[in-house]
């Protein structure tokens, strides 16, 4: 019997919806893409609506609606946390009572008021936070059997789990409990280094190569006890999240030489070294966890999810250590992916459907292109209604040649093609593209399009068959979740780069040439690689192919299609707005090409930069 299941994650960060029919992922999207509010935690009404439309169903057709975690078990943790905090726990309790007791416990009422139904199951089903993560990692993976590792801040009580997936079954065998958390440890350093918790972790990871891990031993000696099996216990004397509303406390400040860095203030050598240190500790923890998982489960493969699984530097390290034959990481590894995991878990554990293998031994994520697409007729309607000048090039090869030539001239291209990505990374469906060979690409894209001075290089997209020519990476990295070294024979100015690691001002060195693809080469000669497979994204693949035919390089700079603080664009309207507000040269909306030089003058009454809170 056919089963259609809606999964929902909400109320923490990045709320999302996903729709699964008989184990096939039909649609998945984050609410922020529709609401245009970054990391939108609100109930994902628009994302749910999109999922139902994509599946061509009415809400009454849903066999079940599943929420990704258990607010009841979360409440148990909150109450006990406050009891442990004593008097200072009152502030947390006041906040949590309103948000959890007042709102989150009643997810069923949100569903009823949004959909008017609870599906054929007649009640909102609930999964467990890390079960949802585990399901999001194992079920779409290409493996019949795999060890499962989930690591994040916290979900109910668990902060990490280790388990085994086999066929349609998932068994989570071990867990580490709150407050002892790899994710919260990393977030504490994110906060202390002046970045936003829940989103700035990626920046901290990008900062790490500038520093040296001089605090690594201090962290291991004072902040936590790390066991040989990768399990940890934090020393809560240094953290603030039990009894205050910030991550660290004065003892932490004292240990690391002063108060936290103020957001947006200059980054100093201390932050660089702290970033390098916590990155080194995190990698050590994850490597030990992976070895323990391998020993305990005996599985040859491993899957990862949870927010910490977005740490692509650590992922690359785990892969290179060859603890497992191969690893697979859920592209929406954070809480958004919990919506997908909950729907998949219900498919196999509630309705007991059989699990089918992926096509040709590949995964079942469809490249993570699970969001809305816009047909050429819709694009045409949009540009004509707005009287936007355009050029239509229906022939994919000719169009790709034209775009490739534009990129090779050093121009920057906004690219909207096919279904929107699910997860935090732009993978060529909603991307800003540039030429990786040009030394000025990075500065141009940062200052004229992203409106930021970034210490992080952009990521490369690469033809899957060419990845070995550019990067020391075996196999695929379709979701930009593995960092790999740029091949030694492509590196340049190696001795100079080593000296530059100790400079105080990172922005002096970021734009310097380190390889023949400088725009995507980090200061440590690493790159966040995306391999592009023809069957996942044919248009993007063809563009890469034509760029290679023209330049000899099957690589492009791929940055998310947004400005700082803005969610990645979803619709042609969003894309056009971002295009006109920035200095992109060309906007590709499927087969329609919009040249900046042909566009009318762009006037806005208000400063749009105030629209987005800086991330």
């Amino acid at each position: 019997m056919s089963r259609t299941i809606l999964g929902i994650s909400a109320f923490y960060h990045d709320s999302a919806a996903a729709l699964v029919r008989d184990g096939e992922i039909v649609a998945a999207a984050q609410e922020e893409r529709f609401s245009r509010k970054k990391h939108d935690p609100r109930f994902p009404r628009a994302a749910i609506n999109y999922c139902l439309e994509e599946a061509f169903i009415e809400q009454d057709d849903l066999d079940a609606i599943v929420f990704y975690d258990s607010p009841l078990l979360t409440w148990d943790r909150i109450v006990k946390n406050c009891l442990e905090a004593g008097e200072p726990g009152e502030d947390q309790f006041a906040k949590a009572a309103r948000s959890t007791l007042g709102v989150k416990l009643w997810a069923q009422d949100y569903v009823k008021s949004t959909l008017g139904t609870l599906g054929k199951a007649g009640k909102l089903l609930h999964a467990e936070h890390h079960m949802s993560h585990a399901a999001s990692a194992f079920y779409p993976s290409p493996y019949e059997e795999a060890a499962i590792i989930t690591v994040d801040g916290v979900g109910e009580w668990a902060t990490s789990t280790i388990g085994l997936g086999r066929g349609s079954d998932i068994d989570l065998l071990y867990q580490i409990n709150y407050p002892h958390s790899v994710g919260l440890l990393y977030s504490a350093f994110t906060y202390f280094c002046g970045f936003k918790v829940n989103s700035g972790e990626y920046k901290l990871m990008g900062l790490a190569p500038y520093g040296r891990p001089k605090y690594r031993q201090l962290i291991l000696d004072r902040l936590l006890d790390l066991k040989p099996d990768g399990s940890i216990r934090l020393n809560m004397e240094y953290f603030g999240y039990i009894d205050s509303l910030v991550m660290t406390n004065p003892r932490f400040d004292e240990l690391f030489g002063g108060p936290p860095r103020k957001p947006e203030s200059p980054i100093t050598r201390r932050e660089m070294d702290l970033a390098a240190s916590i990155q080194a500790v995190t990698e050590e923890i994850l490597l030990r966890m992976a070895r323990f998982a391998r020993t305990e489960t005996g599985a040859r493969h491993c899957v990862f999810a949870g927010g910490v699984a977005l740490n692509c530097v650590a992922n690359g390290h785990v892969l290179r250590e060859k603890i497992f034959d191969d690893i697979w990481i859920q592209p929406a590894a954070g809480d958004a992916g919990g919506a997908l995991g909950a729907a998949l878990l219900a498919t196999y554990a509630y309705f007991n459907l059989p699990r089918a293998p992926g096509p040709g031994g590949r995964d079942r994520m469809h490249g993570s292109y699970l969001g809305p697409a816009f047909r050429p007729a819709e694009i045409r309607s949009f540009v004509e209604r707005r009287e936007i000048p355009y050029e239509c090039m229906p022939d994919t090869v000719q169009r790709s040649k034209r775009i490739a030539a534009t990129l090779a001239e050093g121009k920057v291209v906004g690219f909207l093609s096919g279904r929107m990505e699910f997860g935090p990374r732009a993978l060529g469906a909603r991307s800003i593209l540039g030429d990786p060979r040009r030394p000025d690409t990075q500065a141009t894209m940062n200052l004229k399009i992203k409106f930021r001075e970034s210490f992080r290089p952009f990521a490369p997209s690469c033809l899957v068959e060419d990845v070995g020519e550019y990067f020391e990476l075996e196999g695929e990295s379709p979701y930009m979740l593995l960092v790999a070294p740029v091949r030694e024979n492509r590196r340049q100015n190696v001795a100079e780069a080593e000296k530059q690691r100790d400079v105080e001002d990172m922005l002096q060195v970021i734009n310097q040439v380190r390889s023949d693809i400088p725009a995507v080469t980090h200061v440590d000669f690493s790159a966040r690689v995306q391999t592009v497979h023809e069957s996942d994204q044919p248009m993007y693949y063809e563009l890469l192919r034509q760029f290679k035919a023209l330049t000899g390089y099957g690589v492009l700079v791929n940055s998310s299609f947004n400005v700082r603080g803005e969610p990645i664009v979803c619709t042609p309207q969003d894309a056009y707005l971002c295009f006109m507000r920035t200095e992109m040269d060309l906007l590709v909306l499927e087969d329609h090409l919009l040249w900046k030089t042909s566009q009318p003058a762009w006037v806005e009454k208000e400063d749009w930069r105030q629209t987005y809170e800086l991330d």
């Binding site: 935690p41 009841l72 007042g102 089903l125 467990e128 079960m131 020393n235």
Partner: protein
Amino acid sequence: MNSTSQDEKERLAREFYAARLLPLSRAASASGKHYFPLGPEPGLETYYVRRARTRWTAADFESQSVATPEQLAPALAALWQTTGNPELAALAPDFAALAARVYDVNTEAEGVTPFMYVMF
């Protein structure tokens, strides 16, 4: 369910904390009881906890569902009896009453704070 203002909800929560939870917290503290470990125990071989429930079953999907504040009291009481916290189980009806007073599904969730991991 009710139209209590946000300020009023905050006041109710703070009063509840002071009257119901703080005495429990003080009693626990006085007796040296902790609700979870706060630091390393070098003598332990591992900090992993072996899970009693390794698999999420059809019954588990349904058991976590709470539809009304009336259903909340028995659900919390059962949970806290299971976890060995009779002092909290005894407060379950009070928590349910507080939930009824602060219930507000029409309020938009608060934004994400840059200072704290979103955990409640």
